[in-house]
Each structure stands twice: as C-alpha cells, then as structure tokens.
Point group: C4
Chain length 229, copies 4
C-alpha cells in the first residue's frame, strides 16, 4: 500500500541526519496521498540507521493506523491537523534543528534580513505562542496543530512554509516530503544567518520590501523565471 | 571478568569522539556491575584510536584495581563517589565538551528554555561551586564527587542526569554507560541552544512549567507514552 | 568550444560545496576567455552532484547563449557587467556563504582586523547599498552589476576582490575561476573571524595601516616575496 | 640528512588540516635537531595535499638553506629567533586557526577560565603588541620573533607554550613538533570556549588560582600523576 509514498517519506526522513537537522531520533517527516486521504509517517523512536522504508506507518486523517507494525510518530496528531486544514500541503517536517530551535526558545519570529530568506519564504517566519495548561492537558500534540492552523488560516500558507513553536521547535511543509525537508534546511540556514546578522549589527532592519518581493516572485508564481542558479 | 560490561564501557567511550564530545583523551566513561560492586572504566591517557575493550580497567568501589594492566582514569575517584551514593546510576561520563564546558566556565546553570531540554532533564541543569583550597589539597578528584553527591542527595537524581562543575566541565549519568553518553550528547546540544537562545533574546525566560512537565512526563514515569518520535 | 575553460569553470563550481560555501544550488562561478570575449558559466538550477563539465553554458558579453542546452545562471547579467567593466577579472563567484552573507544582511563592510584579511584584500571589504525599486524593476541582476561597477571603477579592483551586496550576499573575483573561488573562501574565513573578533572585543579597531601594507605587499606587486607559507 | 626529523615535521604539518587549524597553506610547523643546530621546516607555498616529507627544508640557525629544493616558509625567521633564545623548544607551530586568531585580532590575551586551559597552559595566554613601523620595515618576520622572545625571556616558557601576535595570529611550541601541534589544538579549543564563556557570562572571572595550580601541576613537574584520562 502506497509503496511509492512510503519510499519517498523514508528517503525524506533519511535526509534529516544528512543535513545535520537531527540528533538521535529528534525529527519526523510525513507525506500525504490526497486521493486516499492516507498519511505516511515515520515510526516512533526508531534509530535512523536502523530504519527501513517498510517501517513507515500509514494512518488515516483521524489517526487510525491502517498499515505498519510500529507506532506512528508521537507528533502524528500535529501533522494531521495541518493536512486537514491545508489542502496544498503534501509533506510536513518536524525537527529540533539547533538554530531554528534557538529562535523558538527565544520566543521570536525570524525577520527577513536577506534574499536567502526571501527566495523561499515571504515575510517574517512566525513564532506561535505557548499552549495554555488547559490546551496541553486536553491534547498536547493535536492542539499544537490547532494553534498553527489558527495562525495560518486565511493566509498564503505555501508562501510561508515554516513556523516556530515557542519553547519547542520548528515545523515546515512543502508540496511533497522532499520539498518540506528542503524548506527545513532553508529555515535552519536562514535562522543561523539571522542570529549572526543581529550579532554583527544589533540595529539591523529587515530587507526592503521591494527586494523581498523581487526575490520571492522571481522564483514563485506566474512570473517566475529564476532557476535557483 | 565482566567481559560484557567491559565491551559496553569500551563502546560507550568510543562514542565520545564519534559525537564530537572529546578532543584528544579528554573524557571517560565508566559502568558498574551492581551485583559484584565492581566498576569498569577507561584507562588513563590512552588514545581513543589505540584503545581496545581489553584495556578497560576493573576497580572496586574503594578504588583498588581488580583487573587490567593500565591505570584507571585519574577521575575514577569522582565516579566512585557517585556510584556509592546513587544506586540507580549504571554509567557515568565525564567530558570537556565545548558548549557544556563554556557554561561551566561561566559558572552558570543551564535554564530550561525548551522541550529538547525538558524531554530528558527536569529543571535547570545545576552548576556546582568550586572546591575550596582545602578540599582540593585533601583529595581533589574524590571531593569533586563528594560535592556532586552533596548537591543531588535527597533529589530525583535520575531526572536530572547532568551537572556542571564550575570552571571545569560536565558529568552526566544514566542507567547504563550508553545511556550516560546519550545524556552527555543531549547536554551538549541543550547547552549550545541555550547559549544561542540568550544571544537571540537576552531577556528570555525559562519554558513554562506546564510545558516542561508535559515533555518530561510524556517520556518518563508511569504515564509515559512518547517514543522519541 | 572552450573545452579547457568549461572544465576549469566546472571544477571551480564543484569547489563551492567542497569548501562549504553553498547549500543546495546557491552559488555560481564563471570564467571568461578574453580573446573571444566569451563567458562560461554554471547552468541555472542544476544540482552540484548531477552537474558535468558539458552542462556549462557559453554566453557572449551581451548575454546571448552561444553554446549549451541549459539556461545560464540567472545571475549571469551581474557577471557580464563586471567582465565588461574590469578587464583584469578572469573569474567571478557568487555565493550565499553564511558568514559573508550575515555581514551583507547586517549592511556592514568588513573592517580589516588582521593579517589573514590583509594577505589577500587591501582595506575594508565594502558593502554596497540596496538597489532602488526603480533599479530592481528595470533590470535587477544587471543593475546589481552596474552598482558594483560604480563602486569599483577607478580603483585597484584586483586588490579588493570581494564585495557584499546589502541584504543579499557576496561576489568575489580573481585572475581565473579557481582564484575567484580562493577569494570566496578567504572572504568567508575573514568574515567569520571579524564577527567573532568584535564579539570578543566590541571596541576593536582595524589593524594598523603599516601592518596591512606589509602583509598585502609582501604577497602582491613588484616587491612580493611571500609564498603563502 | 635528518630523515627522522623531516618525517616528524612533515607529519606534524599534515596534522594541521586534520585538526581544522589551517585553510589553504596558512600554517607551518618546524622542528629542531639540537645536536647539529639545524631546523627542519615546511616549504613556502606548497599545498598540504601535494607536500611530501622530502619537500621539508633544512636551514641553520642563521637561516641559510642547508638542504632542500624549495624555499623555507616565509615565517622561518620567526621560528629561528625562538629556537635561539629558548633551548627547551623542540618544535614550533604557526597557524591562523580561527578562534585563536579572533582573539589575536581583538588584541586580548585569553584568561584562564577553566581546567581545560589549566591542564596545559599556566595562566593567561598573552597577546603581544603590534610591531612598530620601524620594526616592520627593518625585518618583519625576525622582529616578530624578537618581540616574542622579549615577552617570554626569564619566564617558564614551557609552562605557557602559546602566544598571540596582535592583529595576526598564534604561535605555539612544544618539546617536539607533534607536541607543538598538540598545543595548537589545545589553544584553539581553549580560545573557542573562552569566547563562548564570556558570551554566556560577560562578568566571568578567571578560575581560582588553586584550581589552576592543581590542574597544571597534577600533569606537569615532579609531582605529576595525571595521565590525561
């Protein structure tokens, strides 16, 4: 079942250690088959170097396991909320990548200081608030998703494919699992350079809007012409 | 004698360079066999790339060498104090890993700024005081252990498996030697992100208590359900 | 056509990931054959691990593609402006290398704090202003080149083979493509050390002029005697 | 001639890229044969990956080339001044290693903040002043050595085997070439942790003297008992 997607999700998960985004098992990638409404996700607590494509778990959008011997990632409920709310998302990534997590712990969104950021993400990368004690107690992982949905509903969520959860870490998404990992790498690089940029110039301001627009729209939308060259 | 534990301690020692926690020979891992009360520890001053499982040294809890041709690590006396005071410790690690050591040199405990920290360590990672000149002169390595015991006695020491010794560096522990190394890796990652987080937001506050509780207890204790996913 | 130069440009491009200067496809190297006035440049949007020497694109100084199946790098127009204005340039590099880009985002030139900098670059590495909205709308990539030309005309541009574009990133150049990459590596190293140096001493001043002169001129010009030893 | 020492010096030079202390050819190691008074040093401007033991150059203490087809490192005159003044030095290293160079550029000595430092170097690592214009013009490389000699004469120079030259970079020494490289690695690690330590606690004070004494003397001198464990 969904062999192609399971392979894709497996490979995308294996990119996380390759790009230095995870320590131990601190991360997970999922992908969705929109036709069947089924989600493929990394199993919970399996080492990257022992994981195979067959270990990927298939769940439906209510979180019921449809295939697989292992438990799905404990963060599955967060992924599902996003897939249910945002039809253009084809893949989702959660990591504790160190620079993005440092911003999340600092409780700050990442201003757009340059074209590396603007090439992929339009505007400031938001940092959403802590869940309340009630939200945590009721359903922590699900409500993390609900909070992200709350922030991005009625927005161009594919133009800002990343969010920081305060005191926790980042989620990114994309058109498919690989693209979501690509955005996780971009986020980490952008987070690193933004922190260093503020160290070099504590009074730094975001890049001019016209420069942000130029870089974002030369790569995205109907007038795009830029091939990442 | 204790072949299994010697292999385990050897492998745990070899993880230190793999995870970038040591330069040269600046680190040591030990493990204890609670039944016999014997401790296996890295020999003193042997290069990691020349070390074998047979080089591991067996000592009793009084520090007498029971097996092995080499001298045990000079920090052995510190390890023994901890094993004697804390029956749940199965493995202990000492390193000069750079971020944790930078906090130790700064003389500060590491506040819990996020869930990466809370997933493994409950509360602020403490930094214990300098030994006095008298304590140093009397028995430096042993008294380092005595000081740590003083701090952790009557606490849930397995819920805070790490300590910083002021102007020196970290010790971590775990249920066995591998688990103690795992905690040493977590500590280094947490120390790195906490420092960067304060750089990004000098007024940052620790994560809300309910978030710390949620993350710690979903992985530890009788209601745990999280598989590191 | 230009097989030797294509090989050279290809190899120079492959040095960018080797030296850690690029993530994904964020960089490009070109070289010029001054006799024919033809420029060889990396194709747009091709992964480094799939690229071959045959993928290199040949364009004339007006930007017309003379050979190659792929589109030239989208930054080609910037390269061409520089080649047209500065006859001694034999190779040009653009990257988003993290430390240099952090300075560019911070909008600051890099002061000459030491001999590593002075060995290769004479004086402060300049950061040129943002393009205006009009300049962006008219011809973004070309006008980036025009702005750099404006800054360096009537200067010893081979003695300062690097520039930062505000909120964007660096360009470097050299006598040939490899030399331009060499300067990109120097720039990144110098940018890193300058940022850390200001962290260590916020009141730091540039190196004395006589020291800068000594280091630059013992390696460059008619009295040079230093072999990079 | 001096085949053993040439091999030793060659191998010590090759450790510089292995430990991440050099970019390109920015570093050199030498060793001395005290009996003959001859010094073996890296040739000038040769890439590490093309260098062989046979490329090492033999010079006498006046700087005359005694053997070898290549020119000796341009920094040879600095090495020779040190060998002439300090009979216990058996090997000398110069690098532009990034953290140590950042302190040199900042013009600050490195305070002893912890035991990693105290294990190998006794007290603050000094930063010597800039040469005057007259000293530079007269004999730059030689006078760099003269300045270092001036600082260390009448001191226990083997107990502080490192110096920073303001706006330039570090020199380290040891009993032989390998030991000098070992000290260069220690210096870089200590420089990194000291900078981060000040970032974490801007009011940090050096480690207590009794702790510095304990760590230095348990590894050095007649009462040493510590095997780097």
């Amino acid at each position: 079942m969904l062999e192609e997607l399971k392979k894709e999700v497996y490979e995308a998960n294996m990119l996380l250690p390759k790009y230095g985004l995870v320590t131990f098992t601190w991360g997970n990638v999922s992908g969705i088959d929109r036709e069947s409404g089924l989600v493929v996700i990394k199993p919970s607590g399996v080492d990257y170097d022992k994981m195979t494509a067959d270990d990927m778990v298939v769940v439906d959008l209510e979180g019921n396991r449809v295939e697989g011997n292992l438990n799905p990632s404990s963060d599955t409920a967060t992924h599902l909320e996003l897939y249910k709310a945002f039809p253009d998302m084809g893949g989702i990534v959660h990591t504790h990548s160190p620079w993005a997590t440092s911003w999340a712990q600092a409780g700050r969104g990442i201003p757009c200081y340059g074209t590396t950021h603007a090439d992929y993400m339009y505007g400031e990368i938001p940092c959403v608030r802590n869940l309340t004690k009630e939200e945590i107690d009721e359903a922590y992982e699900k409500n993390t998703g609900v909070l992200i949905v709350e922030h991005f509903k009625d927005t161009e969520y594919m133009a800002m494919p990343a969010v920081l959860c305060k005191n926790h870490g980042p989620f990114t998404w994309g058109t498919d699992p690989h693209n979501a990992v690509h955005n996780a790498v971009v986020l980490e690089e952008v987070a690193k350079m933004a922190a260093r940029c503020e160290m070099i110039n504590p009074d730094v301001k975001p890049a001019p809007q016209e420069l942000q627009d130029k870089h974002y729209y030369r790569k995205h939308g109907k007038d795009a012409y830029y091939g990442q060259g």
